[in-house]
């Protein structure tokens, strides 16, 4: 089915006005030998009902997987509000007078992210947590001329992989992994004390990829000696229960906020965020909405700090990012208002309670956690691939397989519990073990 609108009559008007005889003449500026004469190998057009039948995706019933992408309750109103065409079909709000809806809601998103992280400001979104980390490292290189980027090995492995990719062209900058303590699962800051200086950037994820909460006070004491240091949050719901990252004095807090109202959706879209201290405002990548006014002094909003961006600064921009994850940020804003302070805290608590509930049940079955450090809602156990695949065949996804990314944890499986799981689901997993 085509979404064009021409009719025989209108086509005549169109062609006559243009001054051509037939439709194909509109392409006369394309060299003849470049015209594609074949037939594209694409299926015949389909009606909606056929597409519905073709695109049916069965989902497993019981899932204990997180690992950077988390299942959380999404109030029905999030979908209803963000499905309003005024929001989702609109473009980037470059024309503020007819984009106050997008602008104000992004401003509110920025405000809430800054408040939740305890930082001064937030940008309007990044592609995901990984690119947010990579861009933060580029910022450190650009702004603080760091030569070493320290990153905890307990940071989400795909974040580290993307960091590696983005920094590949900076041959003079070394990425250095900070090891973790194989007993507690916490980052081993001891090894760091000596090496950190103003030439280094440090990034610590909390809770880390194993779900373990880092000793942030100690971390900050070391990290604050760096030229720039940042805290990575790969599970935004943890902000509902933990000390604000900003309280530990980082220059930057960044990460993934998919958990705020965005479904797991086979892995994307996600929602990268970046919050900074005031002095880094102008070094931030990406779009930022600011408060403004019109000539009658009416409060209004517009994109601001555009002089950092690619469409003005081109090769001198703070980043190449243009389209971001705007609608995901809107979803986050709607979600946070729907869920409220108590709801966010309760949600985080339920995750923590649930993880302990399942951990206890697993222990009763003789399955222990690999690490002893305090965890939020995720922990590592050991399970061989065959067992995991068997469970998946039964509709139970017991966790995220991490043995390939952490060969030092053979059979490592990262198990996550959220408020979306139930005791019955836990029992079901235990029973099938």
């Amino acid at each position: 089915m085509s979404f064009t609108c021409e009719t025989r009559a209108s086509l005549e008007t169109l062609l006559n006005t243009i001054g051509i005889d037939k439709k194909e003449d509109v392409f006369s500026s394309i060299p003849e030998d470049l015209l594609f004469k074949g037939k594209l190998n694409i299926p015949e057009p389909m009606d909606e009902e056929k597409i519905r039948r073709k695109m049916d995706f069965p989902v497993s019933g019981t899932i204990f997987a997180g690992g950077g992408i988390y299942r959380h309750h999404i109030p029905s109103a999030v979908d209803a509000l963000t499905a309003r065409q005024e929001f989702f079909t609109a473009y980037t709000p470059y024309q503020p007078e007819i984009s106050q809806g997008t602008l104000q809601s992004i401003f509110e998103y920025q405000s809430m992210m800054a408040d939740l992280t305890g930082m001064h400001a937030s940008n309007a979104s990044m592609y995901d947590g990984a690119t947010a980390l990579a861009e933060a490292a580029l910022m450190a290189i650009r702004k603080k001329h760091v030569k070493k980027v320290f990153v905890s090995r307990a940071t989400n492995p795909s974040y580290r992989a993307v960091l590696q990719t983005y920094l590949a062209s900076h041959v003079d900058v070394a990425i250095i992994e900070i090891p973790f303590d194989p007993k507690t699962g916490r980052t081993d800051m001891n090894t760091l004390n000596e090496t950190i200086d103003k030439d280094s950037a440090v990034f610590i994820q909390n809770p880390n990829f194993f779900g373990i909460c880092e000793p942030m006070k100690e971390v900050s004491e070391t990290a604050r000696n760096a030229g720039m240091w940042g805290i990575v949050v790969n599970e935004a719901i943890s902000l509902g229960i933990l000390e604000k990252p900003g309280a530990f004095g980082p220059d930057i807090v960044l990460g993934e906020a998919q958990s705020f109202g965005n479904p797991v959706s086979a892995g994307g879209p996600l929602l990268g965020f970046m919050c900074v201290k005031k002095n880094l405002l102008r070094a931030m990548p990406g779009r930022v909405v600011g408060l403004s006014r019109d000539k009658n002094n009416t409060q209004s909003f517009c994109l601001t700090l555009a002089t950092r961006e690619q469409h003005i600064r081109r090769e001198k921009a703070t980043s190449n990012i243009c389209s971001n994850q705007g609608l995901c940020a809107l979803r986050a804003a709607v979600y946070l208002n729907l869920i409220g302070p108590q709801g966010l805290r309760d949600t985080a608590l339920q995750c923590a309670f649930g993880a302990r509930y399942l951990r206890d049940q697993l222990m009763d079955k003789g399955i222990n956690t690999v690490f002893s450090g305090p965890f939020f809602h995720e922990f590592v156990i050991r399970m061989d691939t065959k067992k995991r695949k068997d469970l998946i065949k039964k509709g139970i996804v017991p966790g995220v397989d991490i043995q390939n990314v952490y060969p030092e944890i053979p059979d490592g499986l990262l198990v996550n519990v959220t408020e979306m799981n139930t005791k019955k689901e836990c029992a079901c997993l235990i029973e099938h073990l």
Binding site: L40, P58, Q110, E315, S323, P341
Partner: protein
């Protein structure tokens, strides 16, 4: 003014910032509570509540509903933003994508079905572009550019020729040079010919052993097809450089001519433009990268592999540039794009390009009597006017853009490309009916007439919007970026 006839108003409530409505315990949500409380063993959890607004469900819903009503979307009217391909967003795409909401990437069984579909999508994109392979993970156009540029870098590195220069025509989008910079390239700006095309003869002067490649946009941002592209490609290849194509404008040519056949080595697409997925007020988009065979080994990780109808992610590509996204990009957008392709089929793809170009040329024919058209050569899906004629009466492109709002249109892209003074870049897309094109032409005509007779009035538009012109300088000077800074 004549727009009064067709433009009406409705009482809209201007919302305060939501933190103004907060009051302890106003929010009465019940969040799921399947588990009993227990000791949190060493987890440091302050007693304070997180700092977000405490408002009722009704207020949240009203807040965002009222805000939405201060926004202009495609369903309200034509949105002729040049270079952005603001075409109709079919609802079936949204519906289908919503079905995958609860699939976690660790759910191997469910993911197999999804990966099968996106693998199918990559095949169609390759077919449409005449390319050999692709990666779907870049989250937007600029992300695709960066990925592609990194691929070129890696290919040269593996070849043992670490070149450092990328050539970019002066009509290029800002992300092109910015992406090169992020990837550590130096960029060199190449002037277009007088007819707005890149000339092989000019390009020649810029080619040397340090040139990694050229980033071309075809049709370019003036809407003009680069008809020397084959010669340009040959010249580059001879120089050991790559031809990169920014595919943001593929809507003009899909099904009509294929970048692969033009000699393009690597390119990106903007699915949120050409393939009808919504722009979301800024994103999420999707920027797949397509390559010719020689560049396949450098594509990012992971790829999609399959055995016996089971699809999964593959991690064995030794010379890959590595991962560019923590997951596999904007999956829901990919599924929307596939749904769009299913709807259109091969015929619809071609038809879309054809009508996109016809609609643009109709508007061009209607508007060129009243506005200066600095590049009079043939154009495809968009064209660029300048404010030269109106400027004589002190009416700027900005004035005209704001006036269009009062006629119920989103303005075109303005002041881009940079090669045109006061550029007005108009891309109606194929999904506009003649009636709406004509409504736009008449609005532009009325504005052109006003520019001659009552030019002062044009400095005051918009007058029917929630605010008058927003003071962007004030915003940049005062930098109030959160409600705490207010």
């Amino acid at each position: 003014m004549s727009y009064r006839a067709s433009i009406v108003s409705f009482p809209e409530i201007k919302e305060p910032l939501l933190n103004k409505r907060t009051s302890r315990d106003k929010n009465k949500i019940m969040t799921p509570a399947p588990f009993d409380a227990c000791d949190l063993e060493g987890l440091d959890t302050p007693e304070t509540l997180p700092e977000i607004p405490d408002v009722s469900q009704v207020e949240t819903i009203r807040h965002f509903t009222r805000l939405s009503r201060l926004n202009f979307g495609i369903d309200q009217g034509m949105y002729p933003l040049g270079s952005c391909t603001m075409k109709h967003n079919p609802r079936i795409c949204e519906e289908i994508a919503s079905k995958m909401a609860r699939i976690h990437p660790a759910d191997d069984m469910a993911m197999s079905g999804i990966l099968e579909k996106v693998f199918e999508l990559s095949g169609y994109l390759e077919e449409i572009c005449g390319m050999d392979a692709s990666t779907l993970w870049p989250a937007a156009g600029a992300h695709g550019e960066l990925t592609a540029i990194m691929i070129i870098k890696k290919a040269l590195y593996i070849r043992g020729e670490p070149r450092r220069t990328v050539l970019i025509p002066d009509t290029a989008h800002g992300t092109n040079p910015a992406s090169c910079a992020v990837a550590g390239f130096r960029t060199v700006n190449i002037p277009s010919g007088d007819d707005g095309m890149l000339k092989a003869s000019i390009l020649k002067e810029y080619l040397d052993g340090d040139v990694a490649g050229l980033m071309i946009t075809n049709p370019n941002t003036l809407g003009i097809f680069e008809n020397e592209i084959r010669a340009i490609a040959a010249m580059l290849h001879e120089n050991g450089s790559y031809l990169y194509m920014d595919g943001a404008n593929l809507n003009a040519i899909m099904g009509i001519t294929r970048p692969g056949d033009m000699g393009v080595d690597i390119m990106h697409l903007n699915l949120h433009k050409t393939f009808g997925t919504p722009h979301g007020g800024g994103g999420p988009g999707s920027g797949p990268v397509l390559v010719k065979k020689g560049l396949v080994p450098f594509l990012p990780l992971p790829d999609i592999t399959h055995t016996d109808n089971r699809f999964s992610l593959g991690w064995n590509r030794d010379t890959s540039i590595g991962m560019v996204h923590s997951s596999t990009g904007n999956m829901a957008v990919l599924i929307k794009a596939l749904t769009y392709i299913y709807s259109l089929g091969a015929f619809g793809i071609r038809q879309a390009a054809t009508m996109a170009c016809i609609n643009a040329n109709y508007l061009r024919a209607r508007l060129s009597p009243m506005f200066n058209l600095p590049y009079p050569g043939a154009t495809l899906h968009e064209f660029v006017l300048s404010d030269r004629d109106q400027g004589k009466n002190q009416v700027t492109t900005m004035d005209m853009a704001k006036a269009l709002m009062d006629y119920g249109f989103h303005p075109p892209t303005v002041y881009f490309p940079l090669v045109v003074h006061g550029a007005i870049m108009i891309e109606p897309t194929e999904t506009e009916p003649l009636e709406e094109l004509e409504r736009f032409a008449q609005a532009m005509q009325a504005i052109a007439e006003t520019a001659q007779e009552h030019q002062e009035s044009l400095h005051n538009n918009p007058v029917t919007c929630p605010c008058e012109r927003v003071d962007e300088v004030w915003a940049a000077r005062n930098l109030v970026l959160t409600w705490d800074m207010e």
